[in-house]
């Protein structure tokens, strides 16, 4: 259940990151001024570790949204996952960008429609002229076959393609190529680990720049957690219920283990007494019971962990196949959930061990009484 909660929390965080695209994202009104605005931000706001500019172009003959990125700075700032690119690794595709401007990471849906393979060429007409680009990767999930009462059809969602920023000479905003196209630009910022995204976003808003808006991961996550939309609300509610359930399960497991341990020790009081009479020391007695009980408890815990992992993996897999999206659910065990699992395991072990230690001491020190009772 800890894995389930961690996986669900991870999914929510990545969904938010996917929407915001970076720690902080600034939507610029006039793409030509993007660099100037970025310089203003860097000059006036502290806590920024790295920045990049991503521009979006809608008008082209390929029917795909094209985003221009700087392969060197974009990877340091933008949120992406390696699995989003297929046919080649994301890093290798970006390396291709660095070596050749006439390249494209093509949207998977378009590549499938045009039956394009890796390193094939695609001709695209832009406002600034036609270009022949080499396909160095495919972006987005594979389309899925959907069965409906009217037959099977291929379902895919609208994604986008990436091209290197230098394809349009974007470093010169007054160049012919840049001016001919209609870009929408975003400034993406990576913050220092100890920097508050909300404060940075607020500072940028207060600069009075020519921008549409500022989004930060911190604000968006908080908004999501307070969200009243049914889907998000239900997800968060399930998380809360699972957390409550987890506490209940752990308390029940610990109490149950302790009770079983106590009953088992009481049932074996005759045996323990006799063993003490025959010269078994307190340490030997505790060690004997521990080696027997802990084997069983360890086996139960290992079994629980394995079954739990299978359940989490199954839940995540079934949830991922049901919805086709870029950010998929995944099984994660972050440090805090590992600490939680470790604490719960320790608690259960303690529940098994403590009665053994206490009751063995009782058997050894009250030997005469035990003998009398038998």
């Amino acid at each position: 259940m800890t894995g389930q909660i961690a996986s669900e929390q991870d999914y929510i965080n990545r969904q938010v990151l996917y929407r915001v695209r970076a720690d902080v994202t600034v939507s610029v009104v006039n793409a030509t001024n993007t660099q100037v605005i970025l310089d203003d931000i860097l000059g006036n706001v502290s806590g920024i570790k790295a920045s990049t500019i991503e521009s979006t172009l809608h008008q082209n003959s390929a029917g795909t949204i094209i985003r221009t990125i700087d392969p060197d700075s974009w990877t340091d700032v933008a949120f992406y996952e390696d699995s989003w690119v297929t046919g080649i690794s994301f890093q290798d595709a970006l390396n291709e960008f660095r070596g050749n401007n006439m390249t494209i990471i093509l949207e998977r849906r378009v590549a499938n429609d045009l039956d394009l393979k890796l390193y094939d060429e695609i001709g695209i007409d832009f406002q600034s002229g036609a270009r022949k680009l080499k396909v160095v990767g495919f972006f987005g999930p594979e389309p899925t076959e959907v069965q409906t009462p009217f037959g099977r059809y291929s379902s895919s969602i609208q994604m986008w393609s990436y091209v290197p920023r230098d394809l349009f000479n974007m470093s010169s905003p007054y160049s012919d190529a840049f001016q001919a196209e209609s870009f929408e630009s975003k400034i993406m910022l990576k913050l220092n680990d100890d920097t508050n995204g909300t404060q940075v976003a607020e500072s940028i808003r207060n600069l009075g720049l020519e921008i549409y808006g500022v989004q930060s991961f911190d604000e968006e996550l908080r908004r999501t957690q307070a969200s009243t939309d049914v889907y998000t609300y239900n997800n968060l509610l399930v998380l809360d219920v699972q957390r409550l359930g987890l506490i209940f399960v752990v308390v029940a497991a610990s109490v149950g283990t302790a009770l079983i341990s106590i009953v088992s020790m009481r049932e074996r009081s005759r045996e323990a007494t006799l063993m003490s009479v025959k010269g078994l020391s307190y340490r030997q007695l505790v060690w004997m019971f521990l080696s027997e009980n802990i084997t069983v408890v360890t086996f139960a815990i290992v079994l629980g962990l394995v079954v739990g992992f299978i359940i989490v993996y199954g839940n995540v897999a079934s949830a991922s196949t049901a919805i086709q999206e870029l950010v998929e659910r995944r099984v994660v065990f972050p440090t805090d959930s590992l600490i939680t699992i470790g604490s719960f395991i320790s608690l259960i072990f303690a529940s098994a061990i403590l009665p053994i230690i206490v009751m063995s001491r009782q058997y050894v020190t009250k030997l005469e009484r035990m003998i009398r009772l038998r």
């Binding site: 009479v277 010269g279 009772l373």
Partner: protein, 298 residues
């Protein structure tokens, strides 16, 4: 190892249950020579078992001293007592003797495991002891598969496992019929003679007591009388065996009434009450069986 002297000086034991104090031993003195077989007789509650438990390192004395060889048992720490129980004394009880989950040979081997005796040495010793008590063919049987007499013989072998110089037997024939009881006593005598062990045996049965070199009678926590076996014969003649059995049954009845009273007054909890009552009932049933074998109706 040959037997050791046992010297008990001014031994006092007070049992405390809540506010109630019962003085089980009142300055008891006794000297037992190395290699002697001693029987202790006396009415129920006279302090026989308490004396045995203190000598055996199972209970602490309130005052006085117990010297076994050159070891002062009464001043030993808990860990010293563990060592003492391992090496110096072997215990044989009326019914708490064998671990039910272990076989006969494992039961004998157990105290050697506790004393960290090497495996090879243990195996040899177990065979030797099984031969001594004549149960080599029952080595792999669990206690429940053995008769009462066989169980007691295995218990004797287990008590001898670490070559303890002193054997303490608390009613070793208490739940056995006369024939089996005689067989068990014969083994104790044999061990005393052949191995020279000091044996202290608590019993209600004068015929069992007669096997000892000396018989000590305890009453109210003190040794009242030291008898020779022939003197017990005179006593026995005075009261027949069936009379003694009847007296013992009456005594057990009194113990049952006392137990019921203790339970009503919350001096014992439910578990203890059930266990003790069942045990007393079983002992009474076996005594009644013995009487009916003798043609007596109770």
């Amino acid at each position: 190892m040959k037997g050791l002297d046992v010297k008990v000086r001014d031994l006092v034991k007070v049992h405390r249950t809540g506010r109630i104090e019962v003085q089980a031993l009142r300055g008891l003195n006794v000297n037992i020579k190395a290699g002697e077989l001693i029987a202790i007789i006396g009415p129920s509650g006279s302090g026989k078992t308490t004396l045995l438990n203190i000598v055996g390192g199972l209970d602490k004395a309130t005052a006085g001293s117990v010297q076994v060889g050159d070891q002062n048992v009464t001043s030993m720490s808990v860990s010293q007592l563990v060592d003492y129980r391992r090496k110096s004394v072997g215990h044989i009880f009326q019914n708490l003797n064998l671990i039910s989950t272990l076989t006969a040979e494992e039961n004998i081997e157990f105290s050697m495991v506790a004393a960290s005796v090497p495996r090879g040495q243990r195996r040899g010793r177990v065979q030797e002891l099984l031969e001594t008590v004549g149960l080599t063919d029952r080595a792999h049987h669990k206690p429940e598969e053995l008769s009462g007499g066989e169980q007691q013989r295995i218990a004797i072998a287990a008590a001898l496992a670490n070559d303890a110089p002193v054997l303490l037997a608390d009613e070793p024939t208490g739940e056995l019929d006369t024939v089996t009881a005689k067989c068990v006593v014969d083994y104790l005598v044999k061990i005393n003679r052949e191995l020279g062990k000091t044996i202290i045996m608590v019993t209600h049965d004068p015929r069992v007591a007669r096997a000892a070199h000396r018989i000590l009678r305890i009453e109210d926590g003190e040794i009242k009388m030291a008898l020779t076996p022939s003197e017990v014969v005179v006593e026995e003649k005075a009261s027949s065996y069936s009379d003694q059995l009847k007296a013992r049954i009456d005594e057990l009845n009194n113990q049952l009434l006392q137990l019921d009273e203790d339970f009503k007054n919350d001096k014992v909890n439910g578990d203890e009450y059930t266990q003790q009552r069942t045990q007393l009932k079983q002992t009474m049933a076996s005594l009644r069986e013995e009487l009916s074998r003798m043609g007596e109706v109770t």
